[in-house]
């Protein structure tokens, strides 16, 4: 089974994605991750104004049978949270790269996602 791995963003080994090149970084989980989790029923996210740190857990995603930590691809301040997920957590399954996004962060140190995997590298990891 092949998974969607768009090449307009970067990835963490723990299956989070981060957009690059904008003033803010948008964060979510990959198509592979949502498939592994199964039906997502709840997402626990930080609040706007909170600080998150690269490599640290910033939240939790729950499916019917599993709970997984979400790890931050970059450090920075949370400037937006996808509140739609509180009522419709299934968006993570339906559209992981679009409507299922989780956070927007203003990176702390220009914080681009350089240290992260590109689409080919990530695709190779999950293949």
């Amino acid at each position: 089974m092949s998974f969607d791995v768009p090449d307009d963003r970067r990835y963490l080994e723990s299956h989070e994605w981060a957009t690059t090149g904008g003033d803010t970084v948008r964060i979510g989980v990959s198509d592979f991750a949502q498939d592994e989790l199964g039906d997502v029923v709840f997402v626990e996210l930080p609040e706007v104004g909170d600080e998150i740190a690269a490599g640290e857990s910033f939240g939790v995603v729950e499916s019917i049978k599993a709970v997984s930590d979400l790890y931050a691809p970059v450090s920075g301040e949370v400037v937006a949270v996808n509140e739609d997920l509180f009522d419709r957590p299934e968006l993570v399954n339906e559209d992981p790269y679009g409507d299922g996004w989780m956070l927007e962060v203003e990176p702390a140190d220009g914080g681009d996602a350089e240290g992260l995997l590109d689409a080919d590298e990530y695709d190779g990891q999950i293949a």
Binding site: F42, E62, A66, V67
Partner: protein, 442 residues
Amino acid sequence: MSRANGTPYAPHTDDETAAMLAEIGVDDEEALFDIPEAVSFDGDFGIDARTERGIRDECARIFARNDDLTEFLGRGHYGHYVPSVVDHLADRAEFLTSYTQYQPEVSQGFLQALFEYQSMLVELTGLDVANCSMYDAATALGEAATLADRVRSTSGDTVLVPEQLREGKRAVLENYCDGADLAVETYPMADGTADVDALADRAGDDVAMVYAESPTVRGCIEERLAAIGDLADETDALFVLGSDVVALSVLESPAAVGADVVVGEAGSLGLPTAYGMGLGIFACSDEFLRQVPGRLVGASEDANGDRAYTLTLQTREQHIRKERATSNICTNQAWVALRAAIHAATLGPDGLVDLANDSVREAEALASRIDELSGAAAPVHDRHHFREFAVRVDQPAEAIAADLEGEGFAVHAIDDHLLQVCVTDLNAGETDGLVAAFEEVL
């Protein structure tokens, strides 16, 4: 064990056992275990084999040594007459399956029974959610404290409890709080109920939870719950109310007095008082749905659109969430909750209210009869009582309790000159005897 060792009950014959051992290539069953020498027992258990009848006779001889006392004991354990239909239904094989009743695979029938139990508690408390039981009132209280710690934004780590609290409850709460770095403090009581003014003086930002009971440990009905609820609200503390499933049918609705969580006992229904067994209730508002400890049964629809029940929101629980679980309790007392639910359903709403009203009337009547005796005053507290009340005696309470025991009656001595007496429908017919015994020993 094999038949050669004298048990016809093991499923395997010696030949079958030998064949299995040969198949996996070991000489004997011992080779399958790695038990350190230091802890292995290699001796005789010293248990004489007896016939079934011999065992029955021996047990009968041992039981005959029990005191045959008429109990007027309460303080957390209450007996009401359990209708025989409870045994008949709860003992059906469908309910007594060896399949643990807290697994996701539990049968639809049992899930429905537990859903009914939860629904009854929601109705009795006026709150939104009830879990399908905790071990007892004490563990439910401990869980409420850790919930307060999780959900309250205050930096507080103090749990306030009434100074008069059943010792076992207090000890279990201390255990829970110790691990969660919470401190348990007491607030004073005034005449058997909370001293609300003293509580107001103590309330503050460092308080995460305020606990009050109605009925209190002295059997008094707490009349100022709403004031306690307001106090807790003002300081963003969780208001946890301890009560009893029968009392809840006539007391002010916990939701109406601002209770965030209700804990307590449902073991007064469906269970005898023997062995000190309890059944913990835990109900709370929707706001804390994802923080509820223990198991929750939810109603949904199956693929055909028919109503179906399921254990729900399990991601709160430790088998999934591990160290970040809301509680290290993933279990419940399903069969005991079933008994309580059958008992409550048998009584029906009116029957439950009648039972509760009798618990007020019987206590009042017995207290006034004891009060007429010289050397005793009852009730000690100028309050309404539920099932039980304190009695002040001129002589030392321990001595009076011992003398009453000599007359065939058991009551609690709770202080130098205080006794506590509990009356329910089970011993209400024995009150003449108790009053006569009091008269004898005072």
